[in-house]
Subunit: 111 residues, 4 copies
Amino acid sequence: MNSLKNSVRLVGNLGMDPEVKMFDGNKKLTKLSLATNDSYKNDKGERITETQWHNLVVWGAQAGLAGDMLKKGDEVVIEGKLSNRSYIDKDGIKRYATEVVVHEFLKTAGK
Amino acid sequence: MNSLKNSVRLVGNLGMDPEVKMFDGNKKLTKLSLATNDSYKNDKGERITETQWHNLVVWGAQAGLAGDMLKKGDEVVIEGKLSNRSYIDKDGIKRYATEVVVHEFLKTAGK
Amino acid sequence: MNSLKNSVRLVGNLGMDPEVKMFDGNKKLTKLSLATNDSYKNDKGERITETQWHNLVVWGAQAGLAGDMLKKGDEVVIEGKLSNRSYIDKDGIKRYATEVVVHEFLKTAGK
Amino acid sequence: MNSLKNSVRLVGNLGMDPEVKMFDGNKKLTKLSLATNDSYKNDKGERITETQWHNLVVWGAQAGLAGDMLKKGDEVVIEGKLSNRSYIDKDGIKRYATEVVVHEFLKTAGK
DNA sequence: TTTT
DNA sequence: TTTT
């Protein structure tokens, strides 16, 4: 693993329950949707909150754990890598998707 | 700034010269394309190199610096945040793009 | 600031209430003691928890905030830099101390 | 491994050749001394460079690699964890030492 | 779609 | 000295 060259860290809340998928009968993949809320004051001194939604995927042993331990609304800390993949959509056009492939996650003491 | 909640770190090489754009006559934006190479051994013991291309944007004072100091092939270290935005493409369809908004960059002693 | 060259990230719990100190009548410094708990299985399959205690210091505007918002037992996420300093102890011998100078902190939803 | 709870990232130069030590006939430990240079402008507009020296240790398979690949002056990027240990010095007094236990390292294209 |  |  090379987290030195490609590393993402996020702290935020899950917008939905984890979505667990099975592949080839035994491989697990869990999808998470995580919101990070950035709060700052603009030029006029008004407090602005900017929300970013991130698509996360968890593979392997961690995928099952994520599916079992996490639920909508949970505050989590994750470390992973940025992954860009292309696919052909239903109209035959090449599309790009960016995901964070999660290596480690942690549910805060919160919920 | 809240690099605690949303932070990306990449070490890689630039695939092209920086692309500097002017906005409103005085605002600068610099686009970078960065490759990260992840190397590992597969099940058969063969060495596999996986390359990911990342779209980076640099705003403000740093944008000019990036345009001046960096060039194609340079090895750089960056820290930034993941930013997802949507836009309407030329066919009127909503698309999503993910970029890394760079806060800090560093050219290694290399090139 | 150069968090690219020197960056520490910790997630843990405070072992004591923040210790706020005043300097020169108006400068604030807050000291925190943070435990990180690393849990793993040893050769015999026994679960081992290893606790590290870290000395943190918060300067400036953040120092007051840390003193007001945080208390013993809180779960916090921090980003800072490693700082090594030397001093002369009461016996006239040169000593070294390592601290994490905190740039950002976040109390989790927990407590 | 739990790099989520305790993670250090440094970019700097080695102040000496790696020091490789053998334990129990087959275990390797490599010590590195790394300088990080932080440059900023003070109140008077003068450019100040502040150098921090960090003690790093590399264990296991990586220890041999570090000993072979790295030398004095090299620019390196590392990821590791903060580790605090106590020991009894030659005068029988308890002392504390902080080290960065390196998980991953990377020599830049530089030297 | 979350959270404060 | 914390927490699970």
